[in-house]
C-alpha cells in the first residue's frame, strides 16, 4: 500500500445537520495523509453508495446524531451488498447507544465511534483495516 493514499468518504446520511464531528474527523484524516471526500448534508443512502463507487474509496465514514442510524446505516450496507461491494470498510459515528452498536456490527459496520473518541484512534483503526 506504500505510496497509495487511503481514500475516505465522510458522509452525512439523513436530515441531521450537526456536522461538527464529521468535519473534524474529515480534517483529522486528511492531516493524517488520507484523501478525504466530504458529501455535505442530507445524503440518501443511494447517493452515498454512488459517490463511494465513483470515488473508489477504501472507507466510508457515516455520521448521524439524530437517532436515524438504526434505519440508515443498515440501508447503506444493503446497497453495498446489492452492488457486490465487499472491499469498502464502513465505520460510523454519532450519538449511538451501546445496544444499537451490536446490531450495526451484525449488518457489517466495522466500528462505531461514540462521543469523546480521539481522532487518533479512528486513524489507527482505518490504517490497520485498510492495510
Amino acid at each position: 500500500m506504500e505510496g497509495k493514499k487511503i481514500r475516505v468518504l465522510i458522509a452525512k446520511p439523513g436530515l441531521n445537520g450537526h456536522d461538527r464531528g464529521a468535519k473534524v474527523v474529515a480534517r483529522a484524516l486528511r492531516d493524517a495523509g488520507m484523501e478525504v471526500i466530504y458529501t455535505g448534508l442530507r445524503q440518501t443512502p443511494e447517493q452515498i453508495v454512488e459517490t463511494a463507487i465513483q470515488e473508489d474509496v477504501d472507507v466510508i465514514g457515516l455520521s448521524i446524531l439524530s437517532g436515524a442510524h438504526t434505519h440508515l446505516f443498515p440501508k447503506v450496507m444493503e446497497l453495498l451488498k446489492e452492488n457486490s461491494i465487499k472491499d469498502i470498510i464502513v465505520i460510523g459515528g454519532g450519538v449511538i447507544p451501546e445496544e444499537d452498536i451490536s446490531e450495526l456490527k451484525k449488518v457489517g459496520i466495522a466500528k462505531i465511534f461514540t462521543p469523546g473518541t480521539d481522532t487518533r484512534d479512528i486513524i489507527k483503526f482505518i490504517k490497520e483495516k485498510v492495510n
Binding site: 445537520g17 480534517r27 478525504v36 466530504y38 455535505g40 439524530s66 437517532g67 440508515l72 447507544p97 480521539d118
Partner: protein, 559 residues
C-alpha cells in the same frame, strides 16, 4: 473610572508587586503552565487591576441596569423583580407523548414551554416522504398538520403559558398552526406570548435545517415581522441564535460576532421592505450558548448586550428603547456534555447555568446529564430543572443586579469580546454582508478552524475534559436511557392517510393554489398560510408549494 493620579499610583505599585513579590514566588513555585487561556483560547493575564480599565468610563460603558448601553442588564431590577423563565426544550415521538412531557414539566414548576420538532418537520417534509424515513419523531415531536398541533397543546391554556418553538425554515407554517390552535381555545393572536426561532441564516452556517435559498427565506422572515407587528404584539418574531454557532465549534467572540451579524442582516432586510426599525426591532430576541468558562461567558453576554445596543442606535438609528435591548434565551452547551461518567454533566450544567444567570439571561434551558447518550429521560430532566431552581432560590446570586460588574477581569473580558466581535462584523460588512460571507464559506470556515483546534487541544491534553482525557474510570453501560418508540413513524403515516381522506380536499387544493399564486408576488404570505393550515393542508404540502416557487438551498461544502 479612576483619576489620573490614582492610576499612576496603582501602576507603580503593580510594577513593584510584580518585580518583588511575584518574581520571588515564581522562583520557588513556578506556575502550572507557560500560558493561561480562556475556554475560547484567549490569553489570560495573571492578575487584572484598574490598569486594565484605564480607558473605561462608568456611565458610558456600564451605566445602570435598564439604561443604555444595557451592559448591566435589560431591566432595572432584574431577578429581584422576577426570575428568568425556566424553559426546558422538549419534544419527542408523537404529539400525544410530547403533550404528556409538557404537562409533567409544568407540574414540576417550569413556567414556559419550548417545543422541539423532529427533523422532517423542521425541513418541511411530511412523515410519509421518503426523506423522512428513520427520522420521524426522533429528535423532537412530529407535526404533519394542525391535527397534531391540536393534540400537542391539548389541555394547555395558551393564554397562560408562553411557548417557544424551535422552527426555522417552515416557521410561518408552525406559527400559523399555533394561532389556529389558540383560536380554537378562544385565545386571540394578540394575547399569545412566545417565540419562534425563525433564524434561517444560522441554519446555513451551523444547524442545517434550511429549505429555501436566502432571498425567499428572508422574505418569509420579514413577512412574519410584519404580520406580528399588526396581529401579535407580544410575540417574539425571531430568536437570532448564536447557540448552534457555538455548538458547531465557534469561540465566544465568534458566537457574538456571527449572531449579531445575522441580526444586522435581518434588520436590513426588514427595512428594505419598508418596515420601520422601531416597529419590528422591539420583538427581536436572541439565543446564546452558556459554555464552560464561567467568567468569559458572563462577559460574553454583557458584551453582546452592549454591542447590540450600539448597533441599533448608531447603525440603524433606532429610537425606541425596546429596539435597543438585547433580550436572550440561554441553553447550556450540549457540546460539553460527556458520554463518559455522565453524572459529571450535572456539575458542568450548573456552572454554565450560573454563567447565564450572572450574565442576565431572560430564559434558560439546562441540559440533562444523559444527552451525550440519548434524548433525556424524565428524571434527568427533573435534575436539570432543579439545577435552575437551586440557582434561583438558594445561590444568592439573584439578589442583586449584575453582581460581577466592576470585576477588573470580567470588565476587561467584556471590553475585549465586544472589540473583537466588532472587528469580525466589520470584516463581514466588507465581504458584502452575512449572506455573501456564508456563500463564500467564510463564516463556516472560521467555525471549523476553531472546532478543529478545540479537538486537537483535547487530544494533546492542552484542554482537560474530566472523565475523557483525565480521571478516567472503567464504566458499565448507562442505564435508564429514553428510547423513542420505533412505531412512531408507521403510526404517524397511518394517521396522515386518515387525515387526507377525512378533510375537505377541494378546499385544501384551493388554498394551496392561492398560496402558490401569492408566492409569485410580494404579498405577505402569512394570512394565506393560515388559511391553508386551517383547512388541514399538511406542512409538507405547504412547503412543497413554496419549494416549487422558491427553489431549494444548496450548501457550499468546504473542508
Amino acid at each position: 473610572m479612576f483619576d489620573k493620579e490614582e492610576m499612576k499610583k496603582i501602576k507603580q505599585s503593580k510594577k513593584e508587586w510584580e518585580n518583588n513579590v511575584v518574581q520571588k514566588t515564581l522562583k520557588r513555585f513556578p506556575e502550572r503552565k507557560d500560558k493561561f487561556v480562556t475556554g475560547s483560547g484567549k490569553e489570560v493575564e495573571r492578575l487584572y487591576t484598574p490598569v486594565n480599565l484605564e480607558e473605561s468610563d462608568h456611565n458610558k460603558d456600564l451605566n445602570f441596569p435598564g439604561q443604555y448601553p444595557y451592559t448591566r442588564g435589560v431591566q432595572p431590577t432584574m431577578y429581584r423583580g422576577r426570575f428568568w423563565t425556566m424553559r426546558q426544550y422538549a419534544g419527542f415521538g408523537t404529539a400525544e407523548e410530547s403533550n404528556k412531557r409538557y404537562k409533567y414539566l409544568l407540574d414540576q414548576g417550569q413556567n414556559g414551554l419550548s417545543v422541539a420538532f423532529d427533523l422532517p418537520t423542521q425541513i418541511g417534509y411530511d412523515s410519509d416522504n421518503d426523506m423522512s424515513l428513520g427520522e420521524v419523531g426522533k429528535v423532537g415531536v412530529v407535526i404533519d398538520s394542525l391535527k397534531d398541533m391540536e393534540m400537542l397543546f391539548d389541555g394547555i391554556p395558551l393564554d397562560k403559558v408562553s411557548t417557544s418553538m424551535t422552527i426555522n425554515a417552515p416557521a410561518p407554517v408552525l406559527l400559523a398552526m399555533y394561532i389556529a390552535v389558540a383560536e380554537k381555545q378562544g385565545v386571540a393572536p394578540d394575547k399569545l406570548k412566545g417565540t419562534i426561532q425563525n433564524d434561517v441564516l444560522k441554519e446555513y452556517i451551523a444547524r442545517g435545517t434550511y429549505i429555501f435559498p436566502p432571498a425567499p427565506s428572508m422574505r418569509l422572515i420579514t413577512n412574519i415581522f410584519e404580520f406580528c407587528f399588526k396581529e401579535m404584539p407580544l410575540w417574539n418574531t425571531i430568536s437570532i441564535s448564536g447557540y448552534h454557532i457555538r455548538e458547531a465549534g465557534a469561540t465566544a467572540v465568534q458566537e457574538v460576532a456571527f449572531t449579531l451579524a445575522d441580526g444586522i442582516a435581518y434588520v436590513d432586510a426588514a427595512i428594505k421592505i419598508g418596515l420601520k426599525v422601531d416597529d419590528f426591532a422591539p420583538r427581536l430576541s436572541f439565543f446564546f450558548n452558556a459554555h464552560n468558562d464561567l467568567l468569559e461567558e458572563v462577559a460574553k453576554f454583557r458584551a453582546a448586550r452592549r454591542l447590540w445596543a450600539k448597533i441599533m442606535k448608531e447603525r440603524f438609528g433606532a429610537e425606541n428603547e425596546k429596539s435597543l435591548i438585547l433580550r436572550f434565551h440561554t441553553q447550556t452547551a450540549g457540546c460539553t456534555l460527556t458520554a463518559q461518567q455522565p453524572d459529571n454533566n450535572i456539575t458542568r450544567v450548573t456552572i454554565q447555568a450560573l454563567a447565564a444567570v450572572l450574565g442576565g439571561t431572560q430564559s434558560l434551558h439546562t441540559n440533562s446529564r444523559d444527552e451525550a447518550l440519548a434524548l433525556p429521560a424524565e428524571d434527568s430532566v427533573r435534575i436539570a430543572l432543579r439545577t435552575q431552581q437551586v440557582l434561583a432560590y438558594e445561590s444568592g446570586v439573584t439578589e442583586t443586579v449584575d453582581p460581577l460588574a466592576g470585576s477588573y477581569y470580567v470588565e476587561t473580558l467584556t471590553n475585549e469580546i465586544e472589540k473583537q466581535a466588532l472587528e469580525y462584523i466589520e470584516k463581514i460588512d466588507k465581504l458584502g454582508g452575512v449572506t455573501q460571507a456564508i456563500e463564500k464559506g467564510f463564516i463556516q470556515q472560521e467555525i471549523q478552524n476553531s472546532a478543529y483546534q478545540y479537538q486537537k487541544d483535547i487530544e494533546e491534553s492542552k484542554r482537560i475534559v474530566v472523565g475523557v482525557n483525565k480521571f478516567k474510570i472503567k464504566e458499565g453501560l448507562p442505564k435508564g436511557l429514553l428510547k423513542v418508540n420505533p412505531e412512531v413513524g408507521r403510526r404517524q403515516v397511518e394517521e396522515l392517510k386518515k387525515l387526507k381522506e377525512g378533510r375537505d380536499n377541494h378546499k385544501v387544493k384551493e388554498n394551496l393554489k392561492l398560496l402558490e399564486k401569492a408566492a409569485k408576488t410580494d404579498t405577505n404570505l402569512m394570512p394565506l398560510i393560515l388559511d391553508c393550515v386551517k383547512s388541514y393542508a399538511t406542512l409538507g404540502e405547504i412547503c412543497d408549494v413554496l419549494r416549487s416557487i422558491f427553489g431549494e438551498y444548496k450548501e457550499s461544502v468546504k473542508l
